[in-house]
Structures are given as structure tokens and as C-alpha cells.
Symmetry: C2
Subunit: 142 residues, 2 copies
DNA sequence: GCTTATGATGTGCGTCTGCTTATCATTTGT
DNA sequence: ACAAATGATAAGCAGACGCACATCATAAGC
């Protein structure tokens, strides 16, 4: 049987999240990205998303609130938004080469920072933790 | 060597956190608690905290913003706030019996919900994940 | 064709949050 | 005794957020 008493998962992860966000902020600032902007670029780089509503849902944002983010990204040349010839209501979202570059540069720095936070774990602990996180994340629909 | 490419930890944990908070909200509502109120009760139940500023820092809240939370908890009879005889600037915080009861009832339901989210993990995965979470959490100062 | 549904976008509202400043009582250092 | 620091509290401000509502263009079903 497991430990009878443990801190709430939410409490533990909330502390971790604070540390992660504090670490990420300077990196994003250095690349001229906001948290939402980075989330959008990451999503578009990893998996194609057709509609803005789907994108908003994928990153857990309000669909009316990502419009500004998308405009900023487009103006910076990091994404394209072209009307879909097959359904002209839809604006097809795609990451540009410049967007891919900035995303990957930021991600590299962010994952370095994450590894620093994970320093002190054994290789087994690290792999198990990341594996479970990934499993739970992919299962909860993202 | 580890996987060469993985999603950001922050991205994965953010999804988990959303699922956790969505699960917790109805439980807290049923017990007449807010997230902050629950965090305060949990902290006071687990480890003594002398000043309100220290409490605010412990739960990652702004010290000017927990005052309302403390007043609500006091009015509900879940905490006591008595002036410290040794330093009358300080108001000593303590959880009451009623507070302890409601906190433990809520926590039991919350941890049940957490276990549902963890269902599908092997016992080893579950233990490893919780263990690492706890380790990282306790190390980042809480 | 006409009604209904869908997608993008804009607007406004109420809330939460972090941050700053100010006040008051009290303690502490000199 | 007096100045400086500390703790609790209040008030104000700006930004971010979720949500509801409204508009407009376009598609799709009947």
C-alpha cells in the first residue's frame, strides 16, 4: 500500500509550475514572445491545427483572447493566416520558418532550464517522472 | 541518453494542473471553501506559520490579498487570529477543530479525485511520479 | 432559396491578481 | 527616549482573464 499521507498533488505541482514559469519568463522575453505566443508556436510546430477555435482549446485559452496573440505573431512574421480556399470562413494557421526558428531556440533554452530543475534526480527518476507526465498529459486530451 | 525530443515539462504539467483544478473546484464548492482558503487551511494544518506574511509566501500569494481570505475563514470559524502576547503586532494564526475537520474532509475527496487521474499508472509509475513531485516540491522551497 | 450552423472577430463586464503606496501599532537598535 | 524596522491593513491602479453577447461572412441541409 502507498504512503498513508501525502501532500496534495495539486499543491506539489503548483509549486513546480511557479518555478517553471519563473524560469521561462526571461527566456521568452529575450525572444520577444509571450507565454501564449510561445504556446501557439509550439502547438503549430508540433501538430497541425486547422481552426483558431481548435487552437484555443488545444492550449487551454479563451478563443476570443488568442486573437490578439495571433495578430502579434503574424505581424512578427512567425505565423501565417490565410483563408482556406475550401472553406473561406476559416483562416488556415501555419507557422513560418522564422516562427519555427524562434520557437526552437526558445524551446532549447527552456528545456535546458527544465533540466536544471530536474538536476538531482537519478536517471531513473527523471525518466519515470517525464514518462508519467507525458502519459497523463496526452491522456487528458492535452 | 534520454529521448532527444520531448514536449516541454511546463506544457505537460499545465494540462495536468487544469485537470486537477477542474476536479477540485466542485469539491471545494461543496465544502464552502475557495482555492486560497483551502491552501491556507492546508498550510496551517500541516506546519505552523507565525505571521501572515510568512503564510502568504508559503502558498505563493500576495500578502495584501490573503487578508480577505483570512477574514472569511475566521468568520466561518475555521481559523483563529489572536494577537501574540509576546509581540502584539503579530496576529497568531491557528486552525480550529472545525477547520481541521473541513480541511481533512475536502482533502480526502480531493485525493480520491487525484487517484482517479492517476488510475492507469502502474504502482511503480505512481510511486515514482509522486516521489519525484514531492522531492522537487520540497526542494523549491515550497 | 431559405433557414440553420459554423468560424472569426470585436466589445463590454466583472473578477482576480500583482504591485505600489500609505497608515497605524508595536518592537528593536542605539 | 528616539529613530528605524516590522507586521497588519486599506486603497488604488493596471493588466490579464473568462464569459456572454453581437456581428459578419460563409457553408450546409432541406
Amino acid at each position: 500500500m502507498p504512503e498513508q499521507r501525502r501532500p496534495d498533488l495539486g499543491e506539489m505541482l503548483a509549486g513546480l509550475m511557479r518555478a517553471l514559469m519563473a524560469m521561462e519568463q526571461p527566456v521568452l522575453d529575450a525572444h520577444g514572445l509571450t507565454m501564449w505566443g510561445y504556446a501557439v508556436l509550439s502547438t503549430l510546430d508540433d501538430r497541425p491545427v486547422r481552426t483558431q477555435a481548435a487552437l484555443a482549446q488545444a492550449i487551454g485559452a479563451d478563443k476570443t483572447r488568442i486573437i490578439g496573440t495571433l495578430e502579434a505573431l503574424q505581424e512578427a512574421g512567425f505565423i501565417s493566416r490565410d483563408p482556406d480556399p475550401a472553406d473561406r470562413r476559416v483562416r488556415l494557421l501555419a507557422i513560418t520558418e522564422a516562427g519555427r526558428r524562434v520557437r526552437r531556440a526558445a524551446q532549447a533554452r527552456i528545456q535546458e532550464g527544465e533540466e536544471e530543475l530536474l538536476a538531482g534526480l537519478s536517471a531513473g527518476e527523471r525518466a519515470a517522472f517525464l514518462g508519467v507526465a507525458r502519459k497523463l498529459w496526452s491522456r487528458s486530451g492535452s
